[in-house]
Amino acid sequence: MIIHKYLNKIKLLPEPVRQIGGLVTLTVFIILSFAILNIYWGGGDELIRKMKIEEERIEKERKVNEVISSLPSGIVVFYDGTDHYKLSNKQYEAVCKITKLIPQRAIMAAHFLNYKAYELYTINGNKINDTFVKWDKDKNKCFAGYTVSGSNVGVNETVAVSGEVLSFLSTGIDTRVYFIKNF
């Protein structure tokens, strides 16, 4: 009854007022529909946060690729006296920061001077635990290392090996630690 009364009142309004009322209603209806749709389908801030992270990752990757593509394939070193490509200070830091891999060759070389680590490494099937390659800001040097852990004649042991990275291997796709000076 009340609705009927109000409808009659609307019908009695002048045509221009009804028209503009209709337009306002339509506009509000569209905006509300979008708001409701946003609840179910909109990702909003969460997506932006994720995409920002993704963009940062892409940007980092781009920089890494830039560095890698500037290097020749093969061994690259930080010091003089070899025929290998010598990295500039800037390149040395960049390569250090993008390098993630410590291949078996570098590990085996480091084990020459760490028999305990070698023993644990061979007993436990050439497994290593954590690896790291990090840039030491104070010393302006690149350090790499890893930990080897496992059971040695019934005793659980963990040995950490680390040292200055003196050379890297550039494969054209990525860079790897080539030689760790752990003495």
């Binding site: 028209q19 979008f34 997506l47």
Partner: protein
């Protein structure tokens, strides 16, 4: 309140614009949002959200919905593709007799039907092509290769170009008189002398199959729609969408069904050419006065007799204008269907454009345009021609054209025979001028293009840079910056103000379809390019049309120019602009402007012409000046008609923008072009085409509704 009552529309528009801009300013571009990203692309990104509908998974970036809506229709192209695949490969497998291997083979029904249609079309094309150019395929179809080897004389010889030229001239003379006959003869000589005979006849053979078939189907469907309201209602949405659907978009799904080649081109051309034929048949039949129908019934006509003896002959003119439209569409498609391997002038034009050989492209383009103009004039002459009254005519008077053609056949055959003795190098120029042995002006034009570039490079470059950086890029950015909600409010609001709630819902639904597709950004770019073209075209068209209307001779001249320009296949417009501006967005936009100015000019002149003479006299008697009469009486009265011109301008501009994708744009057309080379492009191409058609229909609905209301208001309905 009084002001609102006095100027209700003004206040509604003001409210709408305020809301639109408020929404634009209130909704920011989400950080990390990348413009023009096709969200239904096959990119797997963990940041994408997914939903599954009808068993199809759709991935998308779930940004704020006020900014961009999620692609809730993203499943549609995938679903169409799967549907087509299912129909062609799995649905209703049946045993069919394979005459090549002499055994039964299991094939899905639709695949078999499509193969049968393909074979039939290929046969028809080859048959006509071999009548014009000679060959053995038709004979082989009825006999075998062994038979042809045993009896080499059965090979169809093909008609010498002299006979075809004479035949065209005689037909033109019969239809219109000396003028058209001379033009027909000159066109045929031109295409022969310039070595374009073979591709021209290939194009003609394709049109001679597509046009009659389109006519038959169009006429039949038109008659059915006239007879049954149900058929009309069923056809109406298809006709509406096909009016604004870019021809490119039809290529893709048809290619999936029928493969590539001339046969597929004929089928696609029919799909595009049948709707105008249906429409004009319907208009013609509706225009028959009830008195004529009544007279037919009173004479005891059966339904069939009433249709064939009364209705169709009375509606003859409109039906023949339909034939004219069919021929024009066929020519336009002759170039576009070259994308799917149709041979002929279109193929040559496409190859030349691909190689940026403007000279060759111009030669092929001119040939297509000349043949199109010729057939346009001939079909219009046929439409306007009254049926001959055979009174007391002598045998010669009745059959003089046939006799002349018979004579031309004999003379042409003798000339070809003489030519075979006369020309010793192996090319009989009196039979056919080979493609690379005719006169060629390609070098001249290419040098001209080089000269233009050398001389005006700095100015062209400066203009190009200015246009792109100062006009196009800001305009594009403005369009892309519009949030989805603001655009929808603007379009729906405009629909409401112009045509009420019904119009609002119609345009709202069309906009929503595009917004919910994965190509909203691309649609905005298409709209921006079309809008730019339409603004400039309308400005030029209104000014030129108004100026030309001031004089009888200039009016006729301009209408003639519009007639000629309208017959050029749309692709031809790209040639001169590429000559001047190279492969840039500017080229596309200038082609859009040139192409779209034609309807704007024509409708302005016709609108001004439609103002009753009595009003002119009344105005003159009231002592108004010429300018006052133009601005206060003629233009307001002609404006509704001019707005119909704007409507046509929008459709023309949209078509050209889509074709412009060929020389590199980043709108919906580019995606349609990509879909052509995509294995699963059928669904994508069709959906994109529907999006373009809907953009056209939104403007069409708004403009037509406004025009109808305005005409009623002015009392000129």
């Amino acid at each position: 309140m009084e002001l609102v009552k006095k100027y209700p529309k003004l206040f509604q528009w003001l409210f709408l614009l305020v809301v639109f801009f408020a929404l634009c300013f209130a909704i920011d571009v989400p950080e990390t949002y990348k413009f023009i990203r096709g969200q239904a692309e096959f990119i797997k990104d963990p940041n994408q959200s997914t939903y599954t509908l009808f068993g199809k998974e759709v991935r998308y970036y779930a940004f704020d919905n006020f900014w961009r809506l999620p692609p809730l229709l993203g499943w549609l192209p995938i679903w169409i593709n799967d549907g087509l695949f299912f129909l062609l490969n799995e649905w209703m497998p049946m045993e069919f007799w394979d005459s090549a291997t002499q055994e039964y083979k299991t094939r899905p029904l639709i695949l078999q039907i499509s193969r049968n249609i393909t074979a039939f079309m290929t046969f028809l094309i080859e048959f006509i092509r071999e009548i014009l150019l000679g060959g053995v395929e038709t004979i082989v179809a009825f006999t075998s290769w062994n038979f042809v080897s045993a009896y080499p004389w059965v090979k169809l010889p093909g008609l010498p170009w002299t006979i075809v030229a004479a035949g065209a001239a005689i037909l033109a003379y019969k239809l219109s008189g000396k003028g058209l006959a001379i033009f027909a003869g000159l066109v045929m000589i031109y295409i022969s002398v310039f070595g374009q005979w073979k591709p021209s006849m290939q194009t003609l053979s394709f049109i001679l199959v597509a046009a009659p078939l389109s006519f038959i189907f169009g006429l039949s469907l038109g008659v059915m729609a006239y007879k049954s309201k149900r058929v009309e209602k069923a056809l109406y949405p298809i006709l509406l969408v096909m009016q604004t659907m870019p021809q490119y978009a039809v290529l893709v799904p048809a290619m999936v069904l029928f493969g590539i080649g001339d046969h597929a081109a004929v089928i696609i051309t029919m799909v595009v050419a049948i709707p105008p034929m249906i429409l004009l048949t319907l208009i013609g039949l509706r225009g028959v006065s009830p008195e004529v129908i009544e007279a037919g019934k009173m004479s005891g006509c059966s339904n069939w007799q009433l249709m064939t003896e009364v209705l169709i002959p009375t509606a003859r003119r409109d039906i023949l204008i339909g034939v004219n439209q069919v021929i024009m569409v066929c020519f336009s498609m002759a170039v576009i269907s070259a994308f799917i391997g149709a041979k002929g002038l279109g193929w040559n034009l496409l190859l030349a454009l691909n190689q940026l050989n403007i000279g060759l492209a111009l030669e092929a383009g001119l040939c297509i345009s000349f043949i199109a103009i010729l057939l346009d004039k001939m079909s219009l002459a046929w439409a306007n021609k009254q049926t001959d009254y055979f009174g007391n005519l002598t045998f010669y008077q009745r059959y003089k054209n046939t006799i002349f053609f018979g004579g031309a056949v004999v003379v042409g055959a003798i000339l070809a025979l003489v030519g075979s003795f006369f020309f010793k190098e192996g090319f009989n120029y009196l039979y056919e001028v080979p493609h690379n042995k005719g006169i060629s002006t390609a070098d001249f034009w290419n040098k001209g293009v080089d000269w233009i570039f050398d001389t005006f490079f700095v100015y062209i470059k400066a203009f190009n840079t200015w246009l792109i950086t100062e006009v196009l890029q800001p305009m594009r950015a403005l369009y892309l910056r519009m949030p989805a909600v603001a655009t929808l409010v603007l379009v729906v609001g405009a629909g409401y103000i112009i045509g009420g709630i019904r119009s609002a819902f119609t345009v709202g639904a069309l906009t929503l379809f595009i917004a919910l597709s994965p190509w909203w950004d691309r649609a905005l770019v298409t709209t921006y390019m079309a809008t730019f073209g339409v603004i400039i075209s309308c400005t030029i068209g209104f000014v030129v049309g108004t100026l030309c209307k001031q004089n009888k001779y200039t009016t006729n001249f301009m209408l003639g120019v519009c007639d000629i320009f309208q017959t050029f296949p749309s692709f031809v417009y790209l040639i001169p602009v590429m000559m001047l501006f190279g492969v840039t967005d500017t080229s596309v936009l200038i082609a859009v402007i040139v192409y779209a100015t034609i309807p704007a000019t024509r409708y302005t002149i016709e609108g001004l012409r439609s103002v009753p003479d009595g009003l002119h006299d009344a105005a003159t008697m009231s002592g108004v000046t010429k300018l006052q009469r133009l601005f206060k009486i003629e233009l307001p009265l002609a404006f509704p008609h001019m707005m119909l011109g704007v409507n046509q301008t929008i459709v023309f501009a949209l078509f050209m923008v889509i074709i412009g994708a060929f020389i590199g744009t980043e709108d919906l057309g580019q995606y349609i072009l990509k879909a052509l080379s995509d294995k699963a492009g059928g669904g994508k191409g069709l959906t994109l085409g529907i999006c373009v058609a809907f953009i056209g229909l939104i403007f069409d609905n708004l403009i037509r509704t406004w025009v109808e209301k305005r005409k009623k208001h002015l009392g000129i309905d």
